[in-house]
Amino acid sequence: MLVPTVTADAIAINSLYSITLFLAVVVFIIVQGLIIYAAVKFKRKHADEIPYQDHGNMKLELFWTVVPAFIVIMLFFLSANTLAQLSGTGTTASPINNVHKVGDENARRRIEEAKRTDVVIEVDGRQWFWQYKYIKEGVRHSSQDNGELIIPEGKTVRLDLQSRDVLHAWWVPSFGGNLYVNPGEMSYVWIDRPPKGYYIGQCNAYCGLQHAQMLSRVKVVSQVEYDTWVKLKKAEQGGVATENGDAQRGAQIYVDGGYKYADAIAKGDKNTGLQAQEIADLSAYINSLK
């Protein structure tokens, strides 16, 4: 695939893709080669030419039935094998469905046992944005106004997706795989230990007027930055204004111990000595990172 593949899932899909592409190119060259050769070589030479009346050849026909059959059956097993390597799919003998009805506790338990997860984020798909709710962290965020899904590097993140209106689909190509998000159902997507970076995905199930604008920007940051972001976000949601901050001043505050300040703010400590403007600056700096 032509996008950088950064998670174990994307890498597994990509290697299956590469094998298939190799075989496809071989078949492509053989077939196109035969077509072009035949079209050039066997042009009619004179008007009365009568070629040998060949009705077929059983052996040849068997050959091009059996060989492709062998190839596709091999690809079938390779696919099944890759499928079993992907996050949360279970084993081939006992596969797990990563979509279930809301409230189906058995299915939910299988999902939770399927893969060790560090961060769980509930994602609501709406016309035409995503709403993110960090469960443990107690933070809310959204993809509106170019909002990014902030996740820590090297951790396994699970998205618990649900639609609040029509069908949507979660797809960040670099993470591999997309999945429909249905009303009344839970869909699960894992982001397995992504490296730091900025990734863009997009809703991939047609959902109406502004379907094209329903982007999912994902920013993978270091653990420290992530924690800081969470704390600032909490502060923001606790009623402290963080808009209109100045990133440069924020950087200075951060160097002076922003992590500590942020921690205090998150605890609701009003006596950090920081002014509302300084909190806003700090926030602006964190947002400007990467």
């Binding site: 597994a12 077939v31 009568i50 040998y52 039935t65 596709v72 999945l179 429909y180």
Partner: protein, 556 residues
């Protein structure tokens, strides 16, 4: 012995004659003409789409119109062009002649199918065109176009999310068109089976007729299921029934794809039949492995009914079921591959007459192969999970349906229009058209594979820059206009050499054809054959031309 008299031609005005005709050839011509109009119209919508996507962030058409444009482009091309053209047009005109019949089994029902199709087409496109006019002239939004996309996935297509009447008009139009197609299929099946000329065993049916017969079986089995679903969705929208409002969203998807996957084969099998007619004629050789080709056609149809849920690998279908559908989907590559190699070996060792029909057929094999191979990618669940709904899919099915069906249709037009009108199309223009189409087609759709791999989703009205998509989209748009130019050349060719009758006189058999249509005058008389010929092999006309090399006797 009783004899049938040909009625003396009553003087009817041409218009009344065309409106009341039950002659399969005239019905076929109306099908071809009208569906070609829908081809042009849906093609113009494609140009609007490609113009919008030529560069990132363009606002040439608004998003609402974009969403209607891709919906109407898709459904117009599928329901109003490809299927009616191949089955209603070529099928009606040539199949009865090929089997040595004087008309379809049920000529009146045939006319009924035609006019139902016309009505359905006007319903689907008429409202949409009125809406465009109303918007352009500032009368306001009539809301008579559908923006639900061709698959009309619920719940988006329910009244809660798509309240405009356009969706209803569109649903009813598709349902009526489906009923027209189903009745047409009954007619084709009975005709191709029961009205065969003496000596024409099932194994001696011409490949086009065989493909059409298989297609008719598929239409017969698949379409009514969609019709049922469409009626339910329509009553949900208009009479507050509750089929899809609270149900598992996959239910509609199952109903829809149960029809719409076979529909792909309904669109491509007759085109395969067309090129299976053309190749042996222009290679002066029998088709390679006739029985294998016939059996693989039937196998594709059969397997085609067991693969629908591969469109739902990311919908949350039970994973065991998914693996089953992955297996059947991959298996279907085998009979498809058999066909491709048998076609190539029909050319092999032949004496190739490089005329436009053959060029188009070679183009078909070449591009369809790419579409087939990429289909294997999408049949593999992990790869499909990545590429589902991306431009890779868009490119894949255009390689099958344009690279396959449309090349087949143009091949068929160059091959058969001389029979219909008694004049030849111009070869030079045909060759230019072929190369422009071939280049334009690959320029349009090959970059779309790359776009899919770069993560571009389909059905998006615009895109942001800096994702590496700009160049490929631009190339694709240039390609689209190249195709349009190629089609324009065809229209010019048709107008000058057929309408204005500047083309060479075709005679009965300009190509040294093999099948019975080349035994009749061009155009054939209303009754086709005075005496129904007796058939002794799968190439009855070859036998007449080359009694010393006749297939009959030494083969079979």
């Amino acid at each position: 012995m009783a004899s049938i008299s040909i009625p003396v031609e009553k003087r009817k005005s041409a218009l009344v004659d065309w409106l009341t005709t039950v002659d399969h050839k005239k019905i076929g011509i109306v099908y071809m003409g009208l569906s070609f109009f829908f081809f042009i119209f849906s093609g113009l919508l494609a140009l609007a789409i490609r113009t919008q996507l030529a560069a990132p962030g363009m606002k040439i058409i608004n998003q609402e119109f974009y969403n209607q444009a891709f919906t109407m482009h898709g459904t117009g091309m599928i329901f109003l062009f490809t299927i009616p053209f191949l089955v209603g047009g070529f099928g009606n005109y040539f199949m009865p002649i090929q089997v040595g019949a004087r008309d379809m089994a049920f000529p009146k029902m045939n006319a009924f199918s035609l006019w139902l199709y016309v009505f359905a087409g006007l319903m689907m496109e008429g409202g949409f065109i009125l809406s465009i006019i109303a918007n352009a002239t500032g009368w306001g939004d009539l809301g008579l176009g559908s923006n639900a996309s061709w698959n009309a996935y619920v719940p988006y297509s329910t009244r809660a999310f798509s309240p405009q009447a356009g969706v209803d008009v569109w649903l009813i139009g598709i349902a009526l068109n489906g009923i027209s197609g189903t009745l047409g299929a009954v007619n084709i099946l009975v005709t191709a089976y029961s009205l065969r000329a003496p000596g024409m065993s099932v194994w001696r049916l011409p490949m086009f007729t065989w493909a059409l017969l298989t297609t008719a079986v598929m239409v017969l089995l698949a379409t009514p299921v969609l019709t049922a679903g469409l009626i339910m969705l329509t009553t949900d929208r208009n009479f507050s029934t509750q089929f899809f409002t609270t149900a598992d969203p996959r239910m509609w998807q199952h109903v829809f794809w149960f029809y719409s996957h076979p529909a792909v084969y309904i669109m491509v099998l007759p085109a395969m039949g067309v090129i299976s007619e053309i190749l042996p004629v222009f290679a002066r050789k029998p088709i390679f492995g006739l029985k294998a080709l016939m059996i693989s056609t039937a196998l594709i149809a059969l397997l085609g009914f067991t693969t629908w849920a591969h469109h739902m690998f990311v919908s949350g279908v039970n994973p065991v079921v998914q693996r089953f559908f992955m297996f059947t989907t991959m298996l279907i590559a085998v009979p498809t591959g058999v066909k491709i190699f048998n076609w190539i070996f029909t050319l092999w060792g032949g004496s190739l007459n490089m005329k436009t029909p053959l060029l188009m057929s070679i183009g078909f094999i070449s591009t369809f192969t790419i579409g087939g191979i990429t289909g294997v990618f999408l049949g593999m669940i992990p790869i499909d999970q990545q590429l589902h709904n991306s431009y890779f899919v868009v490119s894949h099915f255009h390689y099958v349906l344009f690279g396959g069906s449309v090349f087949g249709i143009f091949g068929g037009l160059f091959y058969w229009l001389p029979k219909v009108y008694g004049r030849m199309l111009n070869e030079k223009l045909g060759t230019i058209q072929f190369w422009l189409m071939m280049i334009g087609f690959n320029l349009t759709f090959f970059p779309q594979y790359i776009l899919g791999l770069l993560g571009m989703p389909r059905r998006t009205a615009t895109y942001i820059p800096d994702r590496g998509w700009d160049l490929y989209n631009l190339l694709s748009s240039i390609g689209a206009f190249t195709i349009a130019f190629a089609v324009l050349i065809f229209i010019i060719n048709f107008v000058i050499y057929i309408v204005a009758r500047k083309g060479e006189v075709a005679g009965d058999d300009p190509w040294e054809g093999n099948s019975l249509e080349w035994m009749t005058p061009s155009p054939p008389p209303e009754y086709n054959f005075k005496t129904i010929p007796t058939v002794h092999s799968e190439r009855p006309l070859w036998d007449l031309r080359h009694p010393e090399l006749a297939d009959s006797g030494k083969h079979h």
